[in-house]
Amino acid sequence: MSTTTTKSGSPKRRLGDLVFANLTRGAGLIILVALAGVAVFLTLEGAPAFSAGPNDLGGKSNLLAYVAPLVFGTLLAAVIALLIAVPLALGVALSISHYAPKRIASVIGYLVDLLAAVPSVVYGLWGIGFLGPKMVPIYEWLAEHLSWIPFFAGPASNTGRTIFTASIVLALMVLPIVTAITREIFAQTPRLNEEAALALGATRWEMIRMAVLPYGRSGIVSAAMLGLGRALGETMAVALVLSASGVVTFNLISSTNPSTIAANIALTFAESNGLARNALIASGLVLFVITFVVNFSARAIVARYEPGSKK
């Protein structure tokens, strides 16, 4: 018994704690180093592209002119994908957390997780072989009736391999990530707040609007950001599905479409060498910076609208 008395002179911080704490910090630092490595690699390999000329830039006069249309396409595809995926994901997440009976909810959760498991090549093949042709009649209808809206100027693609189809495929790839995170967050809404709303005579939807969505707002934004990351960076599916011409246009349904940075890398990397290759890597750096900026501003926005509720 007396052995358990406080030993004087024993170190204040235990060795095990010291080692473990530093181990975890070290792991965090490894990630930072890896990320810095990627950034340095992109910068070093991308820098020579500033001196590249039209020969290496697909006819564009300088790097900026080369990258700008790609940035446009990347953002366009990602934004459309998010516009489709986020509401859908919120619906699915809500059905899991607040609408479906528990048993069904877990099955749905499993099925949606399965979507994450489908390889991107398969998404691409499905986009070409199934989704595209199914979209053709819709595009034809849009081109016929709504061509005064710039988005549907047409002429309609006869394969359906448009930026809109590519965005739908991206949306599907983003869906499981956004759903998985938002459903966790919705499930954690304090019961207290939900009951407060219900006790005031709120319907289920009003309860969700008053208690669940505001509570999950920052989480929804993070989830959307993770999804955006995936949408921005997806390579193979877009390369396969999209009929990419590298133009700048808001026309969503024709066979002449903007390309995206990642798809452009996939499409041209194999045949590129020398400065053309540097230019591609520079475009990768631009993509990296875009994600950085988007994340940063999303966080800033969330922070501004968060009235100190997040602990």
Binding site: N158, A244, S245, T256, L267, A270, S272, R277
Partner: protein, 327 residues
């Protein structure tokens, strides 16, 4: 690592992938312990990796380019000696289309150029009708389909158009499709998949599948794509004599009018060094010799639908490869 003595690594042209499968299988059958890997990463990647000493040999849809410094870099990689370059694969490129009720179509180079440049937009355009008496052409929009990725096929196709119909095709030959109009698809299989009724595209003849193939105008006749036709056209093309010894680059004559020649074809090369570490030298010599041998060429013709090298070229190529030696 390339110091492995039982493994040969190559990379490059995806057009040659099917042929490479045949060659690797054929070679490995008689050399059981050897593994030959081939990464169809693309000609550019193949050359890049070859120059960077990442692979033992490369396959490329275009000969090394002096302007881009590839010849010099390859020389550096090979320890200061010029790299070897021989044609290994010749494949006709078919102009493929899908049109209900129409399977035979004659097209001149200038018509093809106008179609792909969207100057002709309907199937019943008089320019098409003129070459196709007796065929009922529908009043249907034409959707031209081209490659969205960079490729040797595109380069050869645009080369053909720019040489044979320079007035109607004002762009220069390039791996990248020069215009933004039309449907774009990744890879030959992508182009094939994107061809719906009313579409027209270009692809390796062997991959055309069920799609109809147009005859192109050579001289005054219309010639259907075929391996034999491509071989005839190749034989009519001179070797580039500005090249160093051991470099068998071909200057393809697109404008040939030799009977039955089909000048719209792709010629692809294998690139290697004249010297290697002792063990590797024999391996690579053995493999590439097989590639250009009659056996190898027949095997490729069987699986890839390519045209066997004409006998004269075959001998020249074999003798160049025979010079590969240990350091």
């Amino acid at each position: 690592g390339s110091e492995d003595t039982t493994t040969l690594n190559g990379a490059g042209s995806s057009a040659q992938d099917s042929a490479m499968k045949a060659w690797r299988a054929g070679y490995q059958k008689s050399n059981d312990t050897v593994t030959v890997n081939y990464n169809p990463a693309g000609s550019g990647a193949g050359v890049e990796q070859f120059i960077g000493n990442s692979v033992d040999f490369a396959a490329s849809d275009s000969a090394l380019d002096a302007d881009k410094g590839e010849i010099d870099k390859a020389k550096e990689r090979c320890g200061g000696v010029n790299a070897l370059e021989v044609p290994s694969y010749v494949s006709p490129i078919a102009v493929v289309f899908s049109l209900d009720g129409v399977t035979d179509l004659n097209l001149s180079a200038s018509t093809i150029a106008k179609i792909f440049d969207l100057k002709i937009t309907k199937w019943n355009d008089p320019a098409i009708a003129a070459d196709n008496a007796g065929v009922t052409l529908p009043d249907l929009a034409i959707t031209p389909v081209h490659r969205s990725d960079e490729s040797g096929t595109t380069k050869n196709f645009t080369d053909y158009l720019s040489k044979v119909a320079p007035k109607d095709w004002t762009y220069k030959a390039d791996k990248v499709w020069p215009t933004t109009e039309g449907e774009a698809a990744k890879g030959t299989s992508g182009v094939i998949a994107a061809i719906k009724s009313g579409s027209i595209g270009y692809a390796d003849e062997s991959q055309a599948g069920d799609l109809s193939q147009a005859k192109i105008k050579v001289g005054d006749a219309f010639v259907a794509p075929s391996a034999e036709g491509a071989a005839i056209a190749l034989e009519a093309s001179p070797v580039d004599d500005t090249r160093a010894e051991g470099d068998l680059a071909i200057k393809v004559d697109r404008e040939t009018t030799v009977a039955n020649a089909y000048p719209l074809f792709l010629v692809s090369y294998v690139i290697a060094c004249p010297t290697y570490d002792s063990a590797k030298a024999d391996l690579i010599k053995g493999f590439l010799s097989y590639v250009v041998s009659a056996d190898g060429q027949t095997a490729a013709a069987g699986t890839a639908g390519s045209a066997p090298l004409p006998a004269s070229l075959q001998t020249k190529a074999a003798s160049i490869i025979n010079t590969i030696a240990a350091k």
